[in-house]
Symmetry: C2
Subunit: 270 residues, 2 copies
């Protein structure tokens, strides 16, 4: 059954555009909004965002760490968030940044991309152990139309501690983009994560390296990049970029999430 | 409160040696042992290993992916495994390979290294986003005596797809080892993961790069490295290496786990 983001991206863009709304119930955010810093508080937070996101955007991205910090009750809350979001017609990107090898990577694929309580339409993963290591996730994604987004160039200022390394003249981000294209084929099975505040040139990347790939781009809104600059940042890669906003949609309180999303859509010219 | 592995490593080695027993309830393993491929089956599997490990070794390492694949009920089973293992006096390394930045990395630290249902004595993490990104985990580990093991040189044959890259003449694994030493100080707050079947030279590493660091070394037993070769593999770094065995301890069935562990201890000369 085709359920995933890769298979639905074009129709999502046609319907509502590419904007993704993050669901980030950090302790600071929950407390600042007057919610309990518990799994129940995280669920209440997420439901407010999902309700505002429904029909305005096509994609939400729960940040798994903020649920996992409560242990199994947090993961149970996340299951509800994923299920209700998908039932509302939203594609869910599980931002889990998982990565391992062989049967262990298969375990993560079973968790996030197979029929089960956490099944999502896309998953973020980490390439440090190589691309063949991620193959169980790619295979599973291909079979359900989902997308695996591989960390490529991240937006933190010290990212070049490691990402500044190179192999045979290519930067690590360029290597990740090349492998992603090789594994993705035409079905958008594999995409990349590129932070919007990261200078592409400084990461050893060109827009051409990203062209054709689905690009998940966090860093808009509160993290500093403006959606009005989307094309300036991503150039020819822009048509397949999924810009993601998180903290900015709750900045004015939970009652204003819908308005904040509308403002972001206007910044995108939608 | 000092609870972690870093603070207890020397006393563990003195009492029972450095061997770590992995808890890897993969689907294949559970089925081959006649157990249900469910969270309950994983728990039953884990309890058998913990019982055999208690008093024989000082460290166990549950592989989080194999519990996460069942969603929240799997994580609940893992909570029980961690709690019961720690109550039995075992130090628990949560093999989760988490990695993110800022408040998100703080979320993972809250999950695995703070007072809560998943609190462990050590956590494996992924360095792709840089070392400053992992700082929330390092700080937390320092405050409780725990250890954060950073992926360094992994054992899969394609690891050099990315780990073969270099920066200013250093391989990625050498860079990871250098940062780990910088952040670890004298308290073994930060260690590294080096696969026992990985050729150190091919990874651009020397034993000297690892000297003084706690080194978690999977890959012994079923994965191909022999514990009798521990010193040959790790040279001068050997005194702080934690060799880990997983599949080999259940190879002869659940009734033989204790015997299999005893055989491994003999291979280590213990």
């Amino acid at each position: 059954m085709v359920t995933g983001l890769g298979a639905r991206f074009d129709s999502i863009v046609e319907a509502v555009g590419p904007l993704c709304v993050g669901i980030d119930p950090s302790a600071d955010t929950l407390v600042s909004l007057g919610l309990a810093d518990t799994a129940d508080g995280a669920l209440e937070f997420a439901r407010t965002i999902t309700a505002a996101a429904t029909s305005r955007v096509g994609i939400v991205k729960p940040q798994v760490a903020y649920f996992e910090r409560f242990g199994s009750v947090g993961i149970a809350a996340l299951e509800t968030v994923i299920l209700e979001s998908r039932e509302a017609g939203l594609a869910v990107i599980a931002d889990a940044k998982r990565g391992d090898i062989g049967s262990t990577m298969q375990g993560y694929s079973d968790a996030w991309l197979a029929d089960g309580p956490l099944q999502s339409d896309a998953l973020t993963v980490n390439p440090y152990q190589g691309f063949e290591a991620l193959e169980p996730a790619f295979s599973r994604a291909a079979s359900v139309g989902a997308t695996v987004f591989v960390l490529c160039a991240t937006s933190n200022t010290d990212a070049n501690d490691l990402q500044g390394a190179s192999l045979a003249g290519s930067s690590l981000p360029a290597i990740v983009a090349r492998y992603a294209k090789e594994y993705s084929g035409d079905a958008s099975t594999v995409g990349v994560v590129v932070g919007a505040t990261r200078d592409l040139a400084e990461a050893g990347l060109t827009a051409e390296d990203l062209a054709g790939l689905l690009v998940l781009a966090p860093g808009f809104g509160a993290q500093g990049a403006s959606l009005t600059d989307l094309r300036e940042i991503f150039g020819t890669a822009t048509p397949r970029v999924i810009p993601s906003v998180s903290r900015s949609v709750v900045r004015s309180g939970l009652a204003s999430v819908a308005n904040s999303i509308d403002e972001h859509l206007q910044e995108l010219g939608l």
